[in-house]
Amino acid sequence: MSRIFETPLYPYQRSADQDAADPVRHPVIIVGAGPVGLAAAIDLAQRDVPVVVIDENDKVSFGSRAICFSKRTLEILDRLGVDPALTEMGVTWNAGRVFFDEREVYNFNLLPETGHKRPAFINLQQYHFEKFLVDRCRQLQSQGKPLEIRGNSKVSALRQQVGFVSLDVETPDGPYTLEADWLLACDGANSPIRRMMGLDFVGRVFEDNFLIADVVMEADFPTERWFWFDPPFNRGQSALLHKQPDGVWRIDLQLGWDIDREREKLPENVIPRLKAMLGDDVKFELEWVSIYTFQCRRMEKFRYDHVIFAGDSAHQVSPFGARGANSGLQDVDNLGWKLKAVIDGLADAALLDTYDAERVLGADENILNSTRSTDFITPKSEMSRILRNAVLDLAEKHEFARPLVNSGRLSVPCVYHGSPLNGPDEGDFPSRTRPGSPAVDAPIPGGWLLDTLDGGFHLLAINVNNAEPIEEAGFHVRVLELKSAGAGAIGERYLGNEKTAIYLIRPDQHVVARWREYSEKAIRRALRRALGNDLHGDVA
């Protein structure tokens, strides 16, 4: 049986562009059909922006790589119309155990808050995730949406022109040239586009190697995240065991710095390591093995004129905390509506600089968290190891030390605090829904709040009955009226100490502004601000 990541999903097909006398110009070309490029293509095509995705490959991610997808990612996928079977296929988990040496030092339950459509996290192989995105692309195509994926097509050169980009693409039939008004570089951590443009990718390399293995086994380990520090089967190093669908388990084994990577990858070296961990009597089969050195780094800026970087090409983190693909999806969420507004002439291109400002903030938060986790897992000095082990020893007996144990701070969406797009915050409202925050889901009559915030601007009117839909700057603001007696999810998440509330919410479901009362004038002002109209005042 061939595995999903070995099956061509978007095989090469000759395009009419290859026979055109002059290079064909496209509104948007996306380089890279990883999770980020595919999600960007879906978002834009859904908004009727024609997109061409170009990938040097024709398959989903080889092996799994990402396994842990966050609630925010699942919410974004819902907005993108991706089949909800994806969440159902994933393994939902809340519990974890931390071991030190031979002892369990503590266990935890994330105790997810109720009143959300989506769970805090699911585990799902990256290849399944990408396959669901490809399926959604195909569905959009069948509905006549302007989306094309060109497989086995490698971008080999890029030239920035005034107001557009020109690129050379290599195919099995030879090279051709294309032009794009906008180019999204979603070409991964080693981004050839970044290199062609001579741009830096600065940060830290962690001097360590991790063996990442996906094994298929019949095992009755519970659906929990198990993390070991200095276990007997991997002395002086760490290990992780986590469940994925289809009887596949993710195993990470820290190997240290001075190793022979090629040798360590050989099955005859991997299998004894796994046996030592799992016990001799557990039968397993290796699905995929790789060795990684992790880095935390980002580009200085994510937008360079008509070239925009998103996902791993723009920022890279170590996987502890699952902040890679999850943050890439937030990039897409942030960029889609802005690019559409600019292409439609409804906003100035300066709006795209707020993609840069907001997502650089997100990247820095992710880099900070991933760096701290990696420093805890891979202590970089003798004293940092002593302190780390002290935390683990204390955690076994004393609750106070447990929050210091850091085997990954799991991905949460960035709050764009201080963004020049944010408007007023007038009232004693809950902090979690302040301007810049992603709207928090809640059950509402007939469904879920986030499902109703479907890609446009919305007004959430709670206990307010004079709110009217607004047309402004080419945008249509829909009104969602809700009642709340104060208790319950809407009251707790959106009213706080107030009796009434008006929230203006962006197309990416982030809160722009909130007030106690409806004022058409204030809302029009905030909307224009959210479209970048005030930027000249803020960005000197």
Partner: protein
């Protein structure tokens, strides 16, 4: 901002110091390092206040 106490504050200074040395008496160098690290974390948690802790980190610098 609360202020870190840098005036004498140990009610029985000599007793505390002796007790600290006694803890280390039977420990190897590695065990002592580990003990000091645990003690530091226990005390830091008791203090809690990040302003005080920041002042303490600075005061310990030479």
């Amino acid at each position: 901002m609360s202020k870190l106490v840098l005036k004498p504050n140990l009610s029985r200074a000599d007793d505390f110091y002796a007790a600290l040395l006694a803890e280390h008496e039977t420990l190897t160098r590695d065990e002592s390092d580990a003990y000091n690290a645990r003690l530091l974390l226990v005390l830091a948690n008791h203090v809690g206040d990040p302003d005080i802790l920041a002042q303490a980190l600075a005061a310990a610098r030479k």
